[in-house]
C-alpha cells in the first residue's frame, strides 16, 4: 500500500485491467495494481486518462496535483462518506466554541510539545548547541495555553512557539553547505526551506485524505479559518505531525547527506529553489518510508504507521466532537 508520485513531466497515466500504468516518451515507467494504491500525487504536467479518473473515483483513491516544487494546486476528490453526523458535529463546533477552543489547544499543544521534545533530545545528544532559552520559552507558552481563551490569542502563542523553535533550527543542521535563517515560503529561496515546504505539501495531501475518510469537511477548520479552496481542517490536524514527520525526515536527509547542496537548482529572477528530478525522487522515497515506519501510538498503545496515525487522529477528533470521548489527545511523542 502506498502513494504513487509522478514526477516526470508529460506522462500518460492509463489503466489496463486492474493496473495503473505510467508511460512517458513511449516507455513504460511504472505498472502497479490499483489495489496497492492509496493515493496518487502528480507533480508537474501529466495526462490522466478518463478511465483512470473513473477508476480512482470508484475506488476512493484521491489524486492531488502539485507543481514540480511541491506547491499544492488541487485535487480530484472521490465521494466523501455520507457520515452527516460527523459533519454536523464539526459545524456545530465552528467559531469560538468550547470544543473548537479545546481542539485548537490540542493541535498547538501537540505541535509545540513535539518541537520541544526534538530540541531537548538534541540538547542531550550534544554539548555545543544551547537550546535552553527556546525550550524554556516553549514550556512557558505551553503552560499558558490552558488559560488562553480566544482562538486568536492561541494563534499568537502558536506563532511565538514556532518562532522559538525555528530560531534553533539552524543549530539542528549538522551538514556542510546547509543554512537555515528563517522560515520562508512561496517560493522558498533556500534548500532547507524548499525541503520543508515540499514535505508539508506532501503531508497535507495525506492528512486531507485522512480527514476525508473520517467524514469531515476538510474546508472547515478551527485554528485555520476558512479561506476559499484551503483545506483548513487538514491544516489544523497537520500541526502536531509537522515536527515528527516532516522536520524529522528533512533533518535526517540533510544530516546524513542523503540530500546534498548539489541536489538543488535555483531559478533565475524568482530565486525559487528546487530539487533536481533525481533528488526529488529520493526525497519522495524518504517521505514514503517515513510514513510507513512504525511506532507505538501513545493513546491506543498499539503499533501503527504514521500513515495510519493520520486516520487515527482524525477518528479521535471525530469522537471528541461527537462526545464519545472527553478530550482530544494530540499525537505527542516522547
Amino acid at each position: 500500500m502506498g502513494t504513487v508520485y509522478i514526477t516526470q513531466d508529460d506522462c500518460f497515466i492509463g489503466k489496463t485491467d486492474e493496473r495503473l500504468n505510467i508511460r512517458a516518451n513511449k516507455q513504460k515507467l511504472l505498472d502497479v495494481p490499483l489495489i496497492n494504491i492509496e493515493g496518487v500525487v502528480i507533480m508537474g504536467r501529466a495526462t490522466v486518462s478518463p478511465a483512470v479518473v473513473t477508476e480512482l473515483l470508484n475506488r476512493h483513491i484521491p489524486l492531488s496535483f502539485l507543481t514540480t516544487t511541491g506547491r499544492y494546486l488541487g485535487r480530484l476528490e472521490p465521494e466523501l462518506t455520507k457520515n452527516i453526523f460527523v459533519r454536523k458535529a464539526q459545524w456545530q463546533a465552528a467559531g469560538e466554541t468550547e470544543k473548537s477552543l479545546h481542539l485548537v489547544r490540542g493541535f498547538i499543544r501537540g505541535k509545540l510539545k513535539n518541537y520541544r521534545t526534538a530540541l531537548l533530545r538534541k540538547q542531550r545528544e550534544r554539548t555545543d548547541g544551547n537550546f535552553q532559552t527556546a525550550t524554556d520559552r516553549l514550556k512557558q507558552i505551553l503552560s499558558s495555553l490552558t488559560s488562553t481563551a480566544t482562538i486568536d490569542s492561541l494563534r499568537g502563542l502558536e506563532g511565538a512557539g514556532s518562532a522559538a523553535y525555528f530560531q534553533c533550527f539552524d543549530a539542528l543542521i549538522r551538514s556542510e553547505g546547509f543554512r537555515f535563517e528563517a522560515r520562508r515560503r512561496r517560493p522558498p529561496t533556500d534548500p532547507v526551506n524548499a525541503l520543508l515546504s515540499l514535505g508539508y505539501s506532501l503531508l497535507s495531501h495525506d492528512i486531507q485524505s485522512a480527514v476525508n475518510i473520517v467524514g469531515f469537511d476538510p474546508y472547515l477548520g478551527y485554528l485555520h479559518v476558512e479561506r476559499y479552496g484551503r483545506p483548513s481542517l487538514a491544516l489544523d490536524l497537520m500541526e502536531e505531525f509537522r515536527p515528527i514527520v516532516v522536520d524529522a525526515m528533512v533533518l535526517n536527509a540533510i544530516n546524513n547527506r542523503i540530500i546534498t547542496p548539489a541536489d538543488f537548482t535555483t531559478e533565475p529572477i524568482s530565486n525559487a529553489v528546487s530539487l533536481t528530478p533525481e533528488a526529488l525522487r529520493t526525497f519522495l522515497r524518504l517521505y514514503e518510508q517515513k510514513k510507513q515506519s512504525n511506532f507505538t501510538h501513545p493513546v491506543m498503545g498499539k503499533k501503527c504507521t504514521y500513515q495510519e496515525s493520520f486516520e487515527i487522529q482524525g477518528r479521535l477528533m471525530a469522537k471528541y466532537l461527537m462526545e464519545e470521548i472527553e478530550q482530544y489527545p494530540p499525537l505527542v511523542l516522547k
Binding site: R315, M322, E324, I325
Partner: protein, 197 residues
C-alpha cells in the same frame, strides 16, 4: 413508495450483532468491505441470479423481494421453497453457524414478510451454511417473533432519531469489519491516557 422509510432485513442482523455497527452502516452510511462481507456478497449474487426453478412436488423461488407493511420491512430472500403446501424461507450464509443467533432473527423477519404477503402462517425457515453445507431449521416461535419485533422497533427508533448507540468493546469487535473506523477501545484508552509533558 419510498424504500428508505423501510427497514432492510439485513439491518436486524447488524443490530443484534452490535447496535453501534448498525448505526455506522445504516445511519452514518459507512461501509467498508472486508473479505468476509465480500465473500458474503458473492455468494448472495450467485443465489440471486439462479432465478426461478421447479423440482417435482416442490417449488423454489430465488432472489425474491419481500416486504411487510405492518413492520415496515423490506429485503431480499435468497430462496423460498414450498413443499406440500408448506412455505419457508432459506437464508444462505457463508461459513458456519456463528456464536450468536442473529441468523435466526433474519429468517424470522423474512417469515414475517412472507406471512403478510401470502396470508398464511409460516412455522419454520432454514439457514444454509455454505461451509458445512448444512441446513439448520429455525422454528418461528412466539419468542423469536417477539424478539424480532422488539429489534425492529429499536432499529426504527435508531433510523428516525439517528442517535448513536455507543460502541462497546466485546470479543465480537475483533471480527468486525468496522473495527478500524469504530476504535471501540478509544474511550477507555483516552480516559487512562497521560500525555507526555
Amino acid at each position: 413508495m419510498n424504500n428508505s422509510d423501510y427497514i432492510t432485513i439485513a439491518a436486524l442482523n447488524q443490530y443484534s450483532y452490535c447496535p453501534h455497527r448498525c448505526w455506522r452502516m445504516f445511519c452514518a452510511g459507512e461501509f467498508r468491505d472486508n473479505h468476509y462481507t465480500l465473500d458474503g456478497t458473492n455468494l448472495h449474487e450467485r443465489v440471486h441470479t439462479l432465478g426461478e426453478g421447479n423440482r417435482e412436488e416442490m417449488w423454489q423461488v430465488r432472489a425474491i423481494w419481500l416486504k411487510s407493511e405492518q413492520y415496515q420491512l423490506i429485503g431480499k430472500a435468497d430462496l423460498i421453497e414450498s413443499v406440500e403446501g408448506e412455505v419457508y424461507p432459506i437464508e444462505y450464509k457463508r461459513g458456519k453457524k456463528g456464536e450468536w443467533d442473529n441468523d435466526e432473527l433474519q429468517v424470522c423477519a423474512q417469515a414475517l414478510c412472507l406471512e403478510e404477503m401470502m396470508g398464511k402462517t409460516i412455522e419454520r425457515g432454514y439457514v444454509y451454511y455454505a461451509q458445512t453445507r448444512r441446513r439448520q431449521a429455525v422454528e418461528i416461535t412466539e419468542e423469536l417473533r417477539q424478539e424480532a419485533i422488539a429489534t425492529l422497533e429499536a432499529i426504527s427508533n435508531l433510523l428516525q432519531t439517528g442517535t448513536m448507540p455507543p460502541p462497546i468493546y466485546t470479543k465480537r469487535c475483533r471480527g468486525c469489519s468496522l473495527f478500524h473506523q469504530c476504535l471501540p477501545q478509544a474511550a477507555d484508552k483516552v480516559k487512562r491516557y497521560q500525555e507526555a509533558s
